[in-house]
Amino acid sequence: MDFDFIDYLTGQNIMFVVLSAIVLGCGLMSVLSTKILRAATYLFFTLFGIAGLYLLMNYEFLAAVQLSVYAGAVVVLLIFAIFLVKNLGHETEKVSCSKKGIAALASVLGIVMTLVIVFNEGIVPAVVGPTAPQVDMQLIGDTLLGSGKHQYLLIFEASSVLLLACIIGAIVVATKSKEEK
């Protein structure tokens, strides 16, 4: 079978390569950057690129969730935390050797796990592009809030309890620091 390059030069594939380059490049920069706010900005671009990948696969709801939860809320929270904690420090501290070792171990483990999965399962050709089925919002809503088989009402409610616990925890922490003053 001869490899015809032109066949692969579709808009979908070009966009996939561009978005992957953004995700990987910005992910790498986010890790390598010594300035903490720059790292957060690169992380934001990475998350944004992932939202683009979801859009490419026609997962519009997932893309919007990715944008509003990760790119919007999480990164804004991160930046606020840096503003409040770091006292405007431009450079991050040097990481100690033991921490570097743990980080290296974790990343190697991650790579091995991914490779094992890829070699065991093989690369599944995903249905990408305009031919991919568009997931109906109705279906997502029913699946999230249904109590039947393969539906996630219990998990949905459990996660809301978790969030409530987080909010109460935040209030407790905030009021305690006031009394100390």
Partner: protein
Amino acid sequence: MDFELVNLISWIDESLRDLCGDASWAVSLIEYVLIAIAFLGLYCVLALILILLERKICADFQCRIGPNRVGPWGLCQPIADMFKILLKEIITLKNNDKFLFFTAPFLILAGSLGTFGALQFGKGLVGVDFNVGIFYMLAISSLGVIGILLAGWSSDNKYTLIGAMRSGAQLISYEISAGISILTMVLLGGSLNLTDLIEGQKDSWYLFQGHIPAIIAFIIYLIAGHAETNRGPFDLPEAESELCAGYHTEYSGITFGFFYLAEYLNMFIIAGIGTMVFLGGWQPFHINYEWASGFNELMDYIPSYCWFVGKVFMLVLLSLWVRWSFPRLRIDQLLHLEWKILMPISLVNMLLMAGWVAYIAAQNN
């Protein structure tokens, strides 16, 4: 006779298809570029119009004449301002993070343009029509918050930092009640798709279909949306008397111009979302009774884009009216208004709307 712009667009599409033959990718490419140019052009022209409108109306409120030298009635003033801002020097600071400093204006512009592209300007005049359009608009607008925070921090100046923190807190807070009031209308419309939402308002706008909950939601949306544009009486992030110009103090030339553009267009976008969700988008005003059929037909003669632009500018004028009439709030008053007044009301209001929707469903069965 039909004056819809969608006819012109389909004519362009057909002639491009004839011209390119079977190279359909070329048609798509040319059309994407054309649409991008059209949106960017519209974005800039609207900014010029809005700036002139604001200056004229502000002048009227303060019993002045306003710009009156450049062109007839000062109509060319924003164009002259545009050239001035393009020619100005972009001043770079010494000890700041230059990368973030110059990324921030682009982020703000990108967030604003991303939202602008999802507006539905008329019948068939849609940039992106997502399945979850209204959710996408709320999500993509969060880019602006990050842009503001980065701008304030990378200017390395305590005024800009305080301005950015205030602005961030304000935007995040008011996004909640604006989001909830839009969600209330999504409950009524039963869809997140903007095309479906507007289609559902063919006979009567959601503002009238939803009765009291819709009116409460509309008022809350107007207040919260106005606060989200960072304009008076909610303009603490750039309170001149306290913070110079807030987060964009250190910017000059066209980098400042980007903030300026985004601020004015955000006003248009907030009004546009309000129009689409509450006032029927580009749908003409109809009275849903038998005796008004003649009136309804008359209203149909007005092209859809005129309806959209007319309604949006009505909301923009309301926003300007508020801006030049009320004094600025303090930061604690601002957060009190959102967290202790607007948010509880909008949550209860959503319950009310759910009850109303259930009542309609019961009536129909």
